[in-house]
């Protein structure tokens, strides 16, 4: 299954450049490209050969880590992606930590007394937030937080990586991470809340209660594990949307991650770079999904047996 999906993705990414109108080498390298460069690209893509052979040439290069050379920056696509990718991973990781840190305890609070005042407030808030796309959250956050509090706007050149100075790094990552966390929190909270409410009506919970186990222990030890299956499933499929949301947030805040790079590449018609990013990101999302499935199977072995 995994192999089939990765194969489909690779064919799709490969075929992308054939969607371009006109002479591919001219479109990719720009009208001012020298004949040698055009010939080099022509050879790299194997454009004189039938299309299935072109695919094998291309996939052979990709497997050796050669995604082509961007004609604009003259740097290899693979190394550009390599330097941008850690930034996205960091933003996503931070946002997920924040989202889980809020969603799990709050969902438990809500599920303990469904239709209580806290549950009503949280449910209404999360339902409203569900309708606010992340790009609106970021614009409004920038408008009301950044502009008012005059948080410095770090440009792409002044970006500091975690290794260089983690305090400055975390400072600039806070706003994007919070924005992404808001969207994820809403989702996780709603899924976990409704699942916990269902779980808490199961017989083994009644059993645990009758044994006199404390409410806190029941929630954390007995109810969370079965309910976390739904939570992790949601988190897995959320990754794709999270990445896309992260792209926009990066772009707005000038953080030189994959999204920023992608949008610049689209703007400058740097097609090989776009193709490379699409391939890496798609395969990454699929792998993450499989990783989540794997974890879910460990938590609830019944699922894989079905």
């Amino acid at each position: 299954m995994l192999i089939a999906i990765v194969f489909v993705i690779s064919v799709g990414s490969f075929y992308l450049i054939h969607l371009l109108p006109g002479n591919i080498t001219t479109v990719i390298e720009g009208p001012g490209a020298s004949p040698e460069n055009q010939a080099k690209l022509f050879k790299l893509l194997g454009l004189n050969k039938p299309i299935y052979e072109q695919y094998f040439i291309w996939i052979g290069n990709v497997l050796r880590g050669n995604l082509g050379v961007s004609f604009i920056s003259q740097t290899s696509v693979a190394s550009t992606i390599g330097s941008a990718l850690p930034i996205d991973l960091e933003i996503i990781l931070l946002s997920q930590i924040i989202a889980f840190a809020f969603a799990i305890p709050l969902a438990m609070r809500s599920a303990r007394k469904p239709d209580g005042w806290l549950d009503r407030i949280l449910s209404a808030t999360s339902f409203t937030l569900l309708s606010v796309p992340s790009f609106i959250i970021i614009v409004l956050l920038v408008l009301f937080v950044s502009v008012k509090l005059a948080i410095p706007h770090t440009g792409p050149s002044s970006y500091v990586s975690f290794g260089q100075d983690w305090i400055i790094n975390l400072d600039s990552m806070a706003l994007p991470a919070i924005t992404l966390a808001a969207g994820s929190f809403v989702l996780y909270f709603r899924v976990l809340r409704s699942d916990l409410i269902a779980t808490l009506q199961e017989e083994f919970i009644t059993m645990a209660r009758s044994k006199g186990i404390s409410q806190r222990r029941i929630l954390w030890r007995h109810a969370l594990r079965p309910s976390s299956v739904a939570l992790l499933g949601t988190a897995g499929v959320n990754i794709g949307g999270l990445l896309a949301g992260g792209f926009i947030v990066e772009y707005l805040l000038d953080i030189p991650g994959l999204g920023y790079t992608l949008i610049q590449a689209i703007d400058t018609s740097d097609y090989l770079l776009v193709q490379g990013i699409v391939l890496v990101v798609s395969v990454g999302v699929v792998l993450i999904n499989f990783f989540f499935d794997f974890i879910i199977n460990i938590i609830d072995p019944r699922i894989s047996r079905e």
């Binding site: 969607l19 371009l20 569900l130 614009v139 969207g183 409704s194 949601t234 999270l242």
Partner: protein, 293 residues
Amino acid sequence: MSNFGQFYAEEEIIHVEKPEKREPLGILFWVCVGWIGLNIIGAIFANVLPLINPLTQNYNALNAGPSLHHLFGTDDLGRDIFSRVVYGSRISLSVGAGAMLIGFGVGAPLGMLAAYRRGRFDSILTNVMYVLLAFPAIIATIAILSFWTPRSLLKIIVVIGVASIPLVYRVIRTATLSVATKDYVIAAKVQGATDRRILFRELMPNVAPIAISFLLIGVATVIALEGALAFLGLSVLPPTPSWGNMINESRTILQQNPWLAVFPSLAMILFLLSLNFIGDRLRHHFDVTEVKL
């Protein structure tokens, strides 16, 4: 963007029961329906309504705040924000409706047929759809739109619509499966009802509530997606207003003119909220109880 996760999160737990007593829809439901209706009317009749031309630049009123003449104020080129928001709804609404028309037009019949017929047809189709589902739809949409130039509204609709087919297929198939094994369907079969009759008279009315509430959430998701695409420069090109375009344009001049960001954002949020709310109420009303399949 997080709405996309909602698709998955909620469609897996669909199960239909004939309702004993229906939960009332409530006043807020009708307020939301009215709001959606108002937006649709505004979008259709935008050029008939007494609005200022959304492309007319008034250099005497740049970045003006809300006033009687300019209800929502003007942008950095002196264009009327109110009429741009109304005209912008045309893009958002047509992308939302058009894409879902394609998604449901193809995905829903296939899903129903697969769940009713079962057998090899179902297993092949379902496997293909699952492979396609694993492909991150948002990334695919971004990729195809950035390569398939020149971009047009129609292409955007087609790409998003096609990308949504596997998702719609899965929801409708799951919903039909839970209905197709019901006693009344078997009874109809035993009585010798034709396939067509069973599909249209027995299955369709029972799948419809799920389909409609999913459709509404789908339209909301697609509209948010169009906004995101506008940010990436992949939607309709300026100066044509769309909600996403306007919010995107506002970000460089947030400090001078916050109204430019606030009003299109508000328009989008209220519209999406209404759609989601109607979808949610309908699901409760038809008692689509959330039972794990």
